[in-house]
Structures are given as C-alpha cells and as structure tokens.
C-alpha cells in the first residue's frame, strides 16, 4: 500500500513537526519548502497524499495541485488555507482538491482528514 505523503509548506518548523507526527503514524513523508522543489519530488515519486500550503514563496498551493494532478492523478490532495479563507477553499475544491483544512492545524485533526479520504 502506498503511504507516501508530500508536504509542501515553507515553514520549516511546520514541516518538521508534521513529518515527525506522520512518520510516527506509519507514513513515509517527503517535504518541500517551495513549488519548484515540490515539482521535482513529484517527478520522482508517486504520492498517496499531498498536503499543500496555499501561500508559498514561488507559487500557490492550487497551482501545485494542478501540476500534481497531471503527474499523479490518484494522489489525494489536502489544501491548507489561512484561517477563514473560504474563497481559496472553494476554489481548491473546484480544482480537484479532496479536502481543505484551515490553519491552525491540529496534527490529530489532519490525521483524521487523511484517514477519511
């Protein structure tokens, strides 16, 4: 079973904490801090899930979502939006995101979302 997760988030601490948490829950995690690195990882890996921050230094999470869907159609995607950012959330769902989750992120809640997909 593919349990590989991609986290795309430019906050290094966020990546570290979430990586540890998901690893403990038996996921294999790769992370990228920008869109360019995320696309490189997509070229080389098949992910079961991708957790994408909307605001990144070089592109937004929806742009990465679109790239991911062309390379890895089966990957489930979760977009992380700012607190109360409903517009981005709706747009993400329109573009094929499987779920969105607003900041702040509680790792346990995120795990429930992943398991529910």
């Amino acid at each position: 079973m593919n349990n590989k997760v991609l986290i795309v988030e430019d906050d290094v601490v966020f990546c570290k904490i979430l990586t540890k948490f998901l690893t403990k829950n038996n996921y294999e995690v790769l992370d990228a801090q920008n869109g360019k690195d995320a696309i490189e990882l997509m070229e080389m890996n098949k992910f079961a899930f991708a957790i994408l921050d909307y605001r990144l230094p070089d592109m937004n999470g929806i742009e990465i979502l679109e790239k991911l869907k062309t390379k890895n159609e089966e990957a489930k995607t979760i977009l992380i939006t700012r607190y109360g950012d409903q517009d981005v959330a709706s747009k993400a769902i329109d573009k094929g995101a499987d779920a969105f989750i607003s900041k702040p992120i509680n790792p346990d809640e995120l795990l429930s979302v992943i398991k529910g997909l």
Binding site: D11, Q33, Y83, I105
Partner: protein, 465 residues
C-alpha cells in the same frame, strides 16, 4: 500543538514535549559520564575551594562573589573554551567567546534519568519562571527564534508545561519582510490565528542573526536574554574582549582573571598584514559580530591571509587573536605560544583540536553550569596539513554548516560528555572547574558592562530579594 496559527507562528500546548524531538538521536541513547554528573552537582563552595587550591593566588571570597553573582541582563550564556598548554606544560582553559543564545541542550545527556525534560526544564524552571513570576504584566508567553528549531520547540513545550499555559512559538527572521513579531513602545506582540496582535508578557529568546535589528532595548516585555546582553558583549567579540580587560584590571589584585588568546581589537583592514607578520605568520581574524563559525578565519599562510582579505569588508574593523597552535606551527615565541592539548590520540594516533561549550544559567544561588559538550576539528593536530587543505580543518571546531536550505551540523565531530566520548577529551574534573570559573567570570564581565552601558535592569529588584 496547533501548527501555523499564523505564518511562522505555532501554538505550543502543555503536554507537547516529546524527548525524541529535542535531542540528537545519539544523545537520547547516551549516559552522562559520572565525573561530569559529579561536576554538575558540585556546590559553589566546593568549586571555589578547588579553584583556589589550583590557583593559590586567587582570592576565595572574590571567587565566591563571582559564582554567586546575579546577572541583571545576561542570565543565560554559553562559553566556548579551548584546552591549551604552553612550552612548560602549563595547561589552561582559554575563553574563545561567550554567547547570549547558546545551543547545547540537544547535545547534553540527561543528568537525571527521571527528569525527561532535562536541562530544558532546569533553565525554564530555575531561571525563566522566577523572573516571569516577578514581572507584573498582562499577556501571553512566547518563544521567539531564528535558528535551532529542535531546541526552541523544546523550550516552548517546556515553558508550556512549567507554566501550564499555551505558548506562542514564533520565527523572527532577519529576512522576513512581514514578521509575525513586532514591538510597540517596548511591548512585544505576536500574530494569532485571526491575524490579530497578541500582547506578550514574557518571551524566551533565541534570535541570533543581528538581533539588534529587530529587538529594542529596555523592553517592557520580559525577555531572556534581553538585547542589552548581546550589545554588551554576548554577541560581539570586540565588546566582550574589552569587557574582559576591564574585569582583569579590576580583579588583578585578587589573583583572578579571564584568560583569552592574545587579542588585538579594532584592527583596520590595512593593518592585517602587519599583525600577521608580527605574530609570526599565523593568526585568527574575527568579524566582531559573527557567529556559528561564520566570519572567523584561521590564517597560517600568506595565501590564507589573502583569501580571508578577499572575503571580508575593507571598511570594517576586526578582532585579531593569536592562533592556538598545532604540533606543526613554526616561527613561534616559545614564551608566549599556546598549543591545543587535543583529544587523546585515537587508535590511529590522531589527536584533534576541540572546544568545550559550557552553558550556564542564573539561579537563586548564583550562576550554575547547565549543559556541556565538545566539538572536534576535522583534521588532526599531529599530521602535516596537505597543501590543498585550509587550516580551518585543523583549528575550526564549529559544527554548524550553512547550506542552501538552512543550517545543518557535522554530527561525527560532536563529542558528548557521556561514558563513550568524555574520556577521549582528556579532561578531568579540575579542567571542568577551571572552565566553569572562567566562563562565570566572562558572564560577570559582560553583565557588568551591560549595567555600565544601559543602567540597572528592571529585574534588579527581583534579584535583590
């Protein structure tokens, strides 16, 4: 824990401390060396008495006064020392620098296996908490940082546990054009999940990259350490050196002094060549406010001097120190040269230069040692340096490596003070005592300089009680 409540801010909750996240993996499985544990439990009276026996000219009462000192600004510090010897075999611990945001917890084996938060808890409980409790102000608690997430998440989790409340963990980066931390009239604010500014009553601070660009003086929010500790020498080698000189002058009649390599301050770019020649063709050039091994150049040849001069700013002034030598240094004045003692030779006969990082904190009883570890150089002291190799490989001990995607470290050169590594350093309890007393004197000197420059701190009344 609530991740990313706003950009670069996390909310750490009581119960979030996970030991595996706040120590290097090899430290988690290490056991502290019994001699180091014994040292960490010595009383001030034992330390002073022993130091006095090792240095009979030192005044015991003055030693006690310094060990019991209550810093007003510089209440958490880390000193880098080197174990050196001279041509007569007179061994010393020499102070290389003193740091106001020292790393070290993640490299320190547990002193007490029953206290899983180890040194994190001792620092927060014995230093930060009493200060916060005495500070009358409304607001939340925070940890602000720009490096070292492993330790800073640990500190935030410990603060949350010790105070029983949520803690804002905020990255306060030099390059961030929209940082989540701001100051207004000396009060710190951090952005919350609604992008609103939350007032902070007290903050633990690990902001290391030119912190004076972001942190004001005389803050109303209590900060450990405040910026004054950096400005008075905790993050400036030039000012620290001057503070040590003041200390040495003040206490020369008491038989004590801070021992450093011979130092020249405010050296202009054009004067570097002259110093190099006068020191016999070797020296260390330091950018005064550099840290993590960046901006420090060991120079043992004209080509290394030329290279260093091509990298540094011709308009700046530098701190020059005499190099601590290896077995292969030439043209030395034997009466003034100091040499690395080095590690005990390994099975291949190699002995490496190493430093000793000693983290200290101010407690109710005075300054206490908190964590200690060593870092060794890459290339041994007792082999000829290959022509294509830089002398930093022999003399540089810093583990930090600045990569494209942030800071990493050279694990293979980290020497823990555990059962496995400590014996390789050739240090005994007397060296640890000497190093601690030297470090305490350095903290005292810098704190006194802060008081002289910025007046008494707001916590003066608290520490006098």
């Amino acid at each position: 824990m609530k991740l990313s409540i706003s950009k670069n801010v996390h909310l750490v909750e009581p119960g979030d401390f996970e030991p595996t996240d706040h120590w290097y993996p090899r430290v988690l499985n290490s056991n502290i060396h019994p001699l180091v544990a014994y040292f960490l439990n010595l009383s001030h009276e034992q330390i002073a008495e022993r130091y006095h026996r090792l240095h009979p000219q030192s005044d015991l009462e003055t030693l006690m006064e310094i060990l019991r000192y209550q810093p007003q600004y510089f209440r958490w510090a880390g000193t880098d020392l080197m174990h050196v010897t001279n041509h007569e075999g007179n061994r010393k611990l020499t102070v290389i620098e003193t740091n106001s945001c020292p790393s070290g917890q993640k490299s320190m084996p547990l002193l007490d296996l029953n206290v899983e938060q180890g040194g994190y808890k001792r620092l927060i409980e014995q230093t930060f908490k009493p200060m916060v409790n005495a500070h009358q102000m409304e607001g939340a608690l925070a940890v602000i940082y720009d490096k070292n997430p492993m330790e800073n998440i640990g500190y935030a989790a410990t603060v949350a546990d010790v105070f029983g409340e949520n803690v804002y963990l905020a990255k306060f980066d030099k390059a961030d054009i929209d940082p989540p931390v701001k100051f207004e009239d000396g009060v710190m604010f951090i952005k919350n999940e609604k992008e609103e500014w939350v007032q902070i009553r007290a903050s633990f601070r690990y902001v290391t990259q030119e912190p004076w660009t972001r942190l004001p003086e005389k803050t109303k929010t209590l900060i450990l350490n405040p910026i004054e500790a950096c400005l008075a020498g905790g993050r400036n080698k030039e000012i620290a050196s001057a503070a040590y000189d003041v200390f040495n002058e003040k206490y020369k009649d008491k038989g004590i002094g801070i021992f450093t390599p011979k130092t020249f301050r405010k050296v202009k770019y054009a004067e570097l060549q002259g110093h190099f020649d006068r020191l016999g063709g070797s020296m260390v050039i330091k950018v005064p406010d550099s840290n993590a091994g960046q901006g420090v150049y060991t120079v043992i040849s004209q080509s290394e001097l030329d290279h260093a001069m091509s990298e540094i700013d011709p308009n700046d002034e530098y701190l020059i120190q005499e190099l601590i030598h290896s077995n292969f240094s030439r043209n030395l004045d034997p009466t003034s040269a100091w040499y690395h003692v080095g590690t005990i030779p390994d099975s291949k006969g190699r002995s490496f230069a190493f430093d000793l990082r000693l983290m200290m904190h101010a407690t109710e009883e005075g300054i206490r040692p908190l964590a200690v570890y060593s870092r060794r150089s890459r290339f041994p002291l007792n082999q000829e340096l290959p022509e294509d190799m830089n002398s930093w490989e022999v003399y540089g001990t810093n583990l930090s490596i600045k990569g494209e995607d942030g800071w990493t470290y050279a694990d293979e050169r980290l020497m823990l003070f555990d059962i496995r590594n400590f014996g390789q350093l050739g240090l005994g309890i007397d060296e640890l005592i000497k190093g601690f007393v030297q470090s305490t004197m350095a903290v005292y000197a810098i704190d006194q300089n802060a008081i002289k420059s910025y007046g008494n701190s707001a916590i003066k009344d608290y520490i006098n009680h």
